[in-house]
Symmetry: C2
Subunit: 422 residues, 2 copies
């Protein structure tokens, strides 16, 4: 008799028949004797359709109204899902983010959860009903206006509710079987991972694994919410994410997997005076735009000129913003020129085991050398190594590294249900 | 500088271009120096589409969830309308029924408004913004669940807000130019009425004029809310509804107009013992079903048998319910048999002037006789006369009566924009 939070994304509830299938799955969990709280996203393309409508009436819709418009999507899916469950003889009651007590700050479009007070949800499951909660939305603490949580918002809703309700597990249902040692569309014989620590999952997510947003993994880690990423199509056990491996699994592999990211760009600030505070001036300028910088590399300065270069990567969509900011501060930073490159690809090798295992980086670089891949940037953390290369070499690199670290599965090709599990 | 509540139905906001047109109309009112509160229904067929979806996932959707589903429709239209107004440089903020303080009882699907506390709306117009409110919805006083007001709900929302805000006028925008002396689709040279008293409008509505629901007219009368029924397409002045005609209009016509209704059926309970309490037993039985009975006629009892018959009319959709109830109580009521007839049509002649004008009924019956129309039932109030006839004779009867009371307009054919203004 556990309390289980189940989250279903838009691709799992894209039409009436998939809503009925998801209802079946929820009813089975409930009939197994568990209390079930469900978090659901808007149906399939609903959100895109609503955004299209908005653009037909306004070139730049006010964010407050955009939030009201978009949250209608989850209201529709949550009510339909509750009906489908009710049709199977189990009582279900749906609740908006506001009714579920998801209190956020007042940053429309990308609100942060500041408090979760799920009184009505707790009361509903007390009575044995299934509680359905609209993902992605909350209510502003000060304004009492409807807010949205931004990308990955529904996963975060699920984790936040699981934490507040002290759920035994938060199951994130998606359209793939779990987290793989690499993207099965790039590495056909990638293997599904049975378990990952929060740190490993965070690095995989930060490295580009689309299946979970770093934000929601971070939230789960902070509040000790066990995650289970699994498919709503196959129903197979997926990938569990937690603090420590179970006893049976102490002999964990050194390497968990290879993540990749094709969505970044690289900015190089050339000809900086090699004096204290120069890096600060560069990244203070970038910070004014709210852009998240990922990797940063500073070259040793050329002895004769005393000048240095700084390169950093960032999401390609933010490239313009960052460059404009740097050009505006050209004077005070005092660099020679800017280089911009959006043809890069990032490969990230992740594994808690590399803490205690020497030679991992040597093995990685060796594998890339043998595959004739030129490394442009390197960045490391305790449990990962990321390298930047030409984007058109990325697939080759991923396969080479995957093989070099013996991650290839004997189980043959991994089943992929399409989509990215977003 | 007035406070104006404007209500727009689904046909006025059925797509992006009509939403932009309505926004234009609202902005013009605002720029004329008025405070504007807008009540909006769901876009065009949105409600029907949502009901279709519900039926795809459940044969009998729970009413609580149906309310949540349907209210998503107004959220979408209100947000889009707010965006379209904002795009014209006027601040607009949209509010759900709950945010607007529309507090109802907990009867899902047909909730009654018990209290209106429009604090946020008053605050919004204080700041000079246009407030957009979702029609048709509220929040249950006890359950705090989302409720819907049932048929004509958006009109009632508008009138209730106008009353609570002490608005100068409540403008009901629809797709016809106002209330006519008869349905222009039946009587091409019907004339638009410039003014009607609440009582006349109530009788027209009860008589079948679809343009306003009796419920919302009754609400407006109780709280002295001046109504203005007009077209969102032509922008022409429409029909004003209030307590008394303006001084210029004291010589009001005896007759306001001719309403008709094709949606009723007639039940005749044959062979009732002519003893006290028999009518009570019949209508107590019907009342258990919650069906609204309209006209009631009891024949004088036949001297020899001492038996009598009772006929009554009701909405055709409720015909089965009423018959089942009567059959269940066959014993205690003690009637011989039931007759059911859904081929009837009702014509209603309305006019406050008939209070003081003798001979109106004689003129009415004469006109029907000349048109060879057989009257099956008659029912009268102070300011109306209703008659039941064969449905296929209704149009002929309406034209005959319209002409007999000199209601035909010299202005030629009335413009009709299609739809019933529902």
């Amino acid at each position: 008799m556990a309390l289980i939070v189940q989250k279903f994304g838009g691709s799992s509830v894209c039409d009436a028949s998939s809503i009925r299938r998801v209802a079946e799955l929820i009813v089975n969990t409930h009939q197994a004797g568990h209390s079930v709280v469900v978090v659901v996203s808007a149906m399939g393309d609903m959100t895109d359709d609503l955004i299209d409508m908005a653009q037909q009436v306004s070139p730049l819709p006010p964010q407050r109204e955009l939030d009201i418009l978009l949250t209608a999507g989850e209201r529709i899916s949550m009510a339909l899902l509750a009906m489908a469950i009710d049709a199977r003889g189990i009582e279900a009651r749906s609740y908006t983010g506001s009714q579920a007590g998801l209190i956020t700050d007042d940053e429309h479009g990308h609100a942060r959860i500041v408090e979760v007070v799920p009184r009505r949800i707790a009361a509903a499951i007390e009575t044995g009903a299934v509680a359905i909660v609209a993902g992605f939305q909350g209510v502003g603490k000060a304004t009492k206006d409807i807010t949205t949580l931004g990308r990955g918002g529904s996963d975060t809703t699920a984790v936040a509710l699981a934490a507040a309700l002290k759920a035994d597990v938060c199951e994130i249902y998606t359209d793939v079987d779990g987290v793989f040692t690499a993207d099965p569309r790039v590495v056909p014989n990638a293997a599904k991972l049975g378990f990952l620590t929060y740190e490993e999952m965070l690095e995989m997510a930060a490295g580009g694994a689309k299946i979970l947003m770093p934000r929601c993994v971070e939230y789960a880690r902070r509040y000790n919410v066990p995650l289970h990423v699994r498919s709503s199509f196959s129903g197979l056990p997926g990938t569990r994410v937690g603090h420590e491996r179970e006893g049976t699994d102490v002999e964990a592999a050194i390497i968990s997997g290879v993540a990749h990211d094709r969505t970044q760009a690289k900015v190089t600030v050339v000809g900086l005076p090699d004096v204290p505070g120069v890096a600060a001036s560069v990244f203070e300028a970038v910070a004014t735009t709210g852009v998240d910088v990922d990797m940063i590399v500073q070259n040793v300065s050329a002895v004769e000129t005393g000048m240095t270069d700084i390169s950093f990567t960032l999401p390609r969509v933010d490239g313009i913003k960052a460059r404009v900011a740097l050009e505006e501060h050209h004077e005070e930073i005092g660099y020679e020129r800017l280089l911009y490159d959006d043809e890069i690809g990032k490969l990230t090798l992740v594994g808690a085991g590399m803490r205690s295992a020497p030679g991992v980086s040597a093995k990685l670089f060796g594998a890339l050398r043998d595959a004739q891949i030129n490394i442009e940037m390197i960045s490391t953390s305790e449990i990962r190594i990321s390298v930047i290369m030409r984007q058109d070499q990325l697939d080759t690199a991923i396969r080479a590294v995957h093989t070099a670290f013996a991650l290839d599965s004997d189980a043959g090709e991994a089943v992929v249900y399409g989509g990215t599990g977003r």
